[in-house]
């Protein structure tokens, strides 16, 4: 769910560009730190908007449960002033965007 201007579709359309930019993207996402708390990118989206609320309502019960679990686990880690053990980090291959229209079919 792009919240603003994005070049992602153009990059994904080109094989060369994708192969160049993907490592940089993963480096950047790892640097942002949310993966170390077991979160997904969509968990960072600010909830107080009508469209985001609608997308949240459309999650399946399982997805809602998983989202709440990730949030709880992350805030617990935050209270402990520590990141999660490495096996609980979000892995690059399990990245999905539960709030994107494509994932809600």
């Amino acid at each position: 769910m792009p919240l603003g201007f994005t070049l992602a579709p153009k990059v994904l359309a080109s094989k060369t560009l994708t192969s160049w930019i993907t490592p940089v993207a993963h480096w950047y996402a790892n640097l942002a730190g949310y993966r170390r708390y077991g979160l997904k990118y969509d968990d960072l989206v600010i909830e107080e908007y009508e469209d985001v609320q609608k997308a949240l309502n459309r999650l399946t019960p399982r997805e809602q449960y998983d989202r709440a679990f990730r949030m709880k686990r992350a805030s617990h880690a935050s209270v402990l002033h520590n990141v999660l053990p490495k096996e609980e980090w979000t892995k690059p291959e399990e990245v999905s965007n539960p709030l994107s229209p494509a994932d809600q079919m």
């Binding site: 459309r58 399946t60 809600q104 079919m105």
Partner: protein, 424 residues
Amino acid sequence: MLTARASSRTVQRVARNFATVVDSAGVKVAAVDNNQPTASVTFLIKAGSRFESKPGVAHGLKNFAFKSSAKRSALGTVRESEIYGGVLSASLSREHLALTAEFLRGDEPYFVDVLTSFVTSAKFARHEYNEYVAPAVESEIEESKFNPGFQAVEAAHAVAFHNGLGSSLLASPHNSITHEDIRSFAQSAFARDNIAVLGTGIDQTTLTSLVEQSLSKISATSQLSSPPSSYFGGETRLQAHGGPQTVFIGFGSAGRPSPEIAALAAFLSTTPSVKWSQGTSPITATLPKDTAVEVVYLPYSDASLFGLLVQGPTGSAVKEAGKAAVQALKTASNGLKGDDLKKALVKAKFAAASAVDSREGLLSVLGSKVLSGHESSLDSTLASLDKVSENAFAKAASSLVKTKPVFVAVGDVATLPYVDELGL
């Protein structure tokens, strides 16, 4: 004088018939152009409630019509149709699902595309089921609770035909249908041999060329089937509040609908030919005050249901009206003589012919003929009515009335009569 005129007036030519049926890539396409100011295209799909794999799936599919497809979203369809000024609608019967677009002449490329993209690439999204389809299904079920006549006819079908034709048009109030069920039902129903494309106010070749390309993507043969109907009969009583007290007395038969029964229905029909007059139906003469009797005749492809829908303010009034109606039916079923039979046949012919005058009637009467590959005109119906003789009528009517009746009481079941109290 009157009889001579009535018999000599055979309908020579029915201009509103579909001219020809073209089989284009396995899809039957028929169009008729009477120079109407608007045009319409209907996809008639054999996906009525008798074919459903799970109760209520057909009702769900009807309400899923014109939601997201690969080409445009549900909102996109609404906006674009409004820009073109057309109307999209879906309707469900026991045998067919009809998806119709009505539009101004010249807009057919867009509206045919809306119809084909739904048939070929509908998404059946989970959130659309939860947000649009399920509430619509629920409100139609809720609405039907306040229509005892509809409830009675629904219950009568269940009692008369059990499965197949007996399955209800509406989903049950507490159903477990999911978008996945509807998707798999649609996938097995949307096949080329299962769809007839009917156009009015549109050129046949234009319509064929528009449909041909896009429908070649879907599978060729449908996986839906329904066992041949058989008639059972029986009695059921439903408690209901708010509406008039209702009783349905019906007689069904399996096999092709016969013209004799159509004539019997036309003879008993209580709708007068002149508004506010009493008419000459044998039922109206003996009805108690405030009660009404409607003659119901529902022909299907392999069965038919004939019945009397009796409604009144109290159970005892309905009992009196029911007795009178059954008496009239029994008298008529012994045979009609001379003018009575002629009147019945002409009324039946007019009913059949005038149904074809309206767009909906044209589709419901001739659409199924196009789909089954029969001759797509009214001529055979009218000719079969012409052939009805006194003997054939008496035989068909008396054997119909001798079958085990369907009896449905809807309303205050404590005061409504039982089937034996009506003289059956």
